[in-house]
């Protein structure tokens, strides 16, 4: 049986004005378990807290009920008071007789009556309270960043800057991501490589950062502060520690006709290759699907020309398991495939290209050395048509397009149009748009410059059909403002393809038990207030894996995610919320219903041996709650049929007791 002390606060006249506090403390003195009851002007004041402390000592109290303002106001205060007097802070309950009683009821009689009932409910609950201790878990002071694009790079640099070691896992042979493929960046038109490659070098040279390129995450176990991650280092058949990146092998390899992914297949590379000149790490990689030596053992040229002796045809995939305290997802985006959009003839004509392909065509390091030439015949195009929203804002068929706005296309299309007109004033450039969306610093000014200074033809309307005829592309479109149908003979058509999350994101989300929306973008812990955290504790989001973003937004989010990671890694111990779910293993049936509703993946199952009354043992599947991950919502307790799962601090019997006390 508890020894409960009841402390009724006047809160000046805030409570005492409507509630007869004397009557309340008198009535509650008669409740079961109550050994002391009093009232005082300001319970939260030093003098008020001293009354509580003295009563705890004098009456050997084990439970405290404070009838005062909202627990959201002073629950923490009174818990501290109790703790300083030597009783567990979770043995304190608050009856809210101010916000939910004296302030909303005018009549003293009803106010007093209700205050007594609320006090009774709190006493009934405290009678069943148990001391709770928050769990402490140590934190591994190392972070993992998944994805080595600009988002991952910035996050890693910021975390390393604070002194914590960081590993980057990148599935491609080099970090750099999509930004490395871009030519210029809006709205300032500085060259992407000029601002990105120094950061890539910083990453490579930072001794706190390790890069696992050409690697993937295959398994994630553990929880916030204590993740165990298995990383697969795919065999690249070239020893990273020895290769100097001289490139001799890539010039001598006889396999020349392999489409070059970096230039989106618009030129070719060898079977041993370095993706681009500023790659980090700058080491060669052998493409096992095309290498003669690996396929049939007949070649070995690269091994012969490599003076460093870095080639190793017998390399195998390596798996390593590392411990991390925090994980940042920065898996980025891809343009959606265009082959389903027959109306734009993307599959029929080489001269219908995506915007990312256009970036490579304009880039000095691209397949054409920066000259804008038609992919089909290498001629200089005179009439260019840009089509916006291809696959974006597309509700009609999910397998074709995406319902959301891809956000970056309006700006990069303006950039492309402007650059084309700037370099080649002899061209006519048409942009077909539905809306031009330019919220952002200097964005609208940029778009207007394309129209006003560079004379780009912006036409409100959509292209209905592109049909190749001879060496021209017949473009049929509507001009909604002039209410006419337009026919243009174009030389080059550029499609602003919608962007979608990288395909690796979905399996990764499953491994991390992080939630995703229907479009496979990661969801935030809170859409407004916790935009860079995932609902899974210890997992953070950076860049376009969370939603379409341009570079400045990505960098900002990367920094924000890094600061959250640093905040976590700074701690030596994580103090949990003690009000967590707790299964009674003797009653658990192992049905998995609780696991299904847990938003945090805090529940797992183990096969456990139980001793039966007849001294035999029986193996049963029972639920286990990871207290470091559980946030205490209690959803599992209702999903549990047998009532095996309960929530500490809000136990079934406590809530029943409150209901009973109120309905008595």
């Amino acid at each position: 049986m508890q020894r409960i002390g009841v402390f009724v606060c006047h809160c000046g006249t805030n409570i005492a004005g409507t509630v007869n506090v004397e009557a309340v403390s008198d009535a509650l003195r008669k409740e079961p378990g109550v050994v002391f009851s009093t009232n005082y002007q300001y319970m939260c004041s030093q003098a008020g807290q001293d009354i509580i402390k003295n009563a705890i000592a004098e009456y050997k109290l084990t439970g405290i009920v404070v009838c005062s303002c909202s627990p959201r106001m002073h629950e923490a205060t009174f818990r501290k008071t109790a703790a300083s007097a030597g009783i567990n802070p979770y043995m304190v309950e608050i009856a809210n007789i101010r916000e939910q009683c004296s302030w909303v009821h005018k009549d003293t009689l009803t106010g007093t009556e209700k205050a007594i009932i609320l006090g009774r409910a709190a006493i009934a609950k405290v009678n069943l309270n148990a001391p709770l201790t928050p769990g402490q878990t140590p934190v591994t002071k190392r972070a993992l960043v998944i994805g080595g694009g600009i988002a991952g790079i910035q996050t890693a640099l910021d975390i390393a800057d604070a002194g914590f070691p960081v590993d980057i896992v990148e599935k491609k042979p080099t970090i750099g991501g999509k930004m490395a493929q871009l030519d210029k960046t809006f709205p300032t038109l500085d060259c992407a490589a000029c601002i990105l490659t120094p950061k890539m070098v910083d990453v490579a040279q930072n001794e706190k950062i390790r890069i696992f390129s050409y690697s993937e995450v295959t398994e994630v176990h553990g929880f916030v502060g204590n993740f165990d991650v298995t990383i697969k280092k795919k065999a690249r058949y070239v020893r990273e520690d020895i290769c100097t990146g001289c490139g001799a092998c890539t010039e001598k390899c006889p396999q020349k006709k392999i489409p070059n992914e970096f230039n989106l297949g618009m030129d070719t590379r060898r079977a041993i290759y370095i993706p681009f000149a500023q790659a980090v790490p700058k080491v060669a990689t052998i493409d096992p699907d095309h290498c003669n030596m690996l396929k049939n053992g007949k070649c070995g040229v690269c091994s012969k020309v490599c003076t460093a002796g870095a080639i190793d045809y017998n390399a195998k995939d390596e798996f390593l398991t590392e411990k991390y305290g925090a994980i940042v997802v920065a898996t980025g985006f891809n343009p959606i495939p265009m082959d389903k959009f027959d109306e734009f003839a993307y599959s029929q004509s080489k001269d219908v290209i995506t915007s990312l392909e256009f970036e490579r065509l304009m880039n000095a390091a691209g397949p054409t050395g920066g000259k804008l030439l038609r992919p089909s015949d290498g001629e200089h195009p005179h009439t260019l048509v840009f089509v916006q929203c291809v696959g974006s804002r597309c509700e009609a068929c999910a397998e074709k397009g995406k319902e959301y706005c891809s956000k970056i296309c309006c700006m990069y299309t303006a950039k492309h149009a402007m650059l084309t007109r700037d370099k080649y004033p002899d061209t006519e450039v048409y942009v077909f748009y539905i809306d031009v969306r330019t919220p952002g610093k200097n964005f609208d000014e940029f778009y207007r410059r394309a129209v006003e200074e560079y004379g780009v033809h912006y036409i409100k309307g959509m292209v209905g059909k592109v049909s190749p005829e001879g060496n021209k592309l017949k473009v049929q479109a509507s001009d909604l403002i002039e209410n006419r149908q337009i026919h243009i003979d174009a030389d080059l058509v550029v499609l602003a393809a919608a962007i979608e999350p990288d395909k690796s994101a979905r399996p990764l989300a499953t491994m991390l038990t992080a939630s995703m929306d229907t479009n496979d973008f990661f969801t935030e812990a809170h859409p407004k207030l916790r935009p860079v955290e995932s609902p899974t504790a210890g997992v953070f989001l950076s860049g376009a894996c969370q939603g379409p973003k341009d570079i400045p937004e990505t960098v900002a989010q990367a920094g924000a995610a890094a600061s959250k990671v640093i905040g976590l890694l700074c701690k030596d111990q994580l103090t949990g919320n003690p009000c967590v779910a707790h299964p009674d293993e003797m009653m658990c049936s192992g049905c998995s219903n609780c696991e299904k509703v847990c938003p945090y993946g805090a529940i797992t199952y183990v096969d456990k041996e139980f001793r039966m009354p007849d001294r035999t043992t029986k193996v049963r599947r029972v639920a286990q709650v990871n207290e470091a991950v559980c946030q205490g919502c209690g959803c599992c307790t209702v999903a549990c049929m047998s009532g095996a799962m309960d929530l500490k601090g809000f136990k079934n019997e406590q809530i029943f007791a409150e209901v009973d006390a109120i309905c008595r």
Binding site: R393, G461, G464
Partner: protein
């Protein structure tokens, strides 16, 4: 309910189209192969029905110049299906023509062994208000 409002409801019901889904991109009209023959174009049908400007549509030749090729249905990114809407306006117009060309009383006289019943039912629907 005003006449226009009722007509609009009829059109929406017959077509099953929700013109509010339209985001005014004009891809339907960009696609339309008979654009120049049409006084009102597919996207205009959508927005005029939504705005309740039905009189000009009902009077327009466009009702008959639509080829019903369904290209606009195929291409619309929002799934609005303008051709169905045009068809519904056309149906409404047909049903408004003059009085009842065919009444229930006329039917028995027209039935003979060669006449498929389907044809009578169809005719009754087409020629009756």
């Amino acid at each position: 309910m005003t006449n226009t409002k009722r007509m609009k409801e009829d059109i929406l019901r017959m077509s099953g189209v929700n013109p509010r889904k339209c985001m005014k991109c004009g891809k339907c009209s960009g696609t339309c192969p008979n654009y120049d023959e049409m006084e009102y174009h597919p996207h205009q049908f959508v927005s005029m029905v939504e705005e309740g400007r039905l009189e000009p549509l009902l009077a327009s030749k466009s009702l008959y110049t639509c080829l019903s090729c369904m290209a606009c249905i195929e291409r619309c990114p929002r799934g609005v299906e303008p051709a169905k809407l045009i068809e519904a306006v056309r149906l409404l117009k047909e049903r408004q023509k003059d009085g009842n060309h065919l009444t229930a009383n006329d039917i028995p006289a027209r039935i003979d062994d060669d006449m498929p019943q389907q044809a009578i039912v169809t005719a009754f629907r087409k020629y009756t208000k």
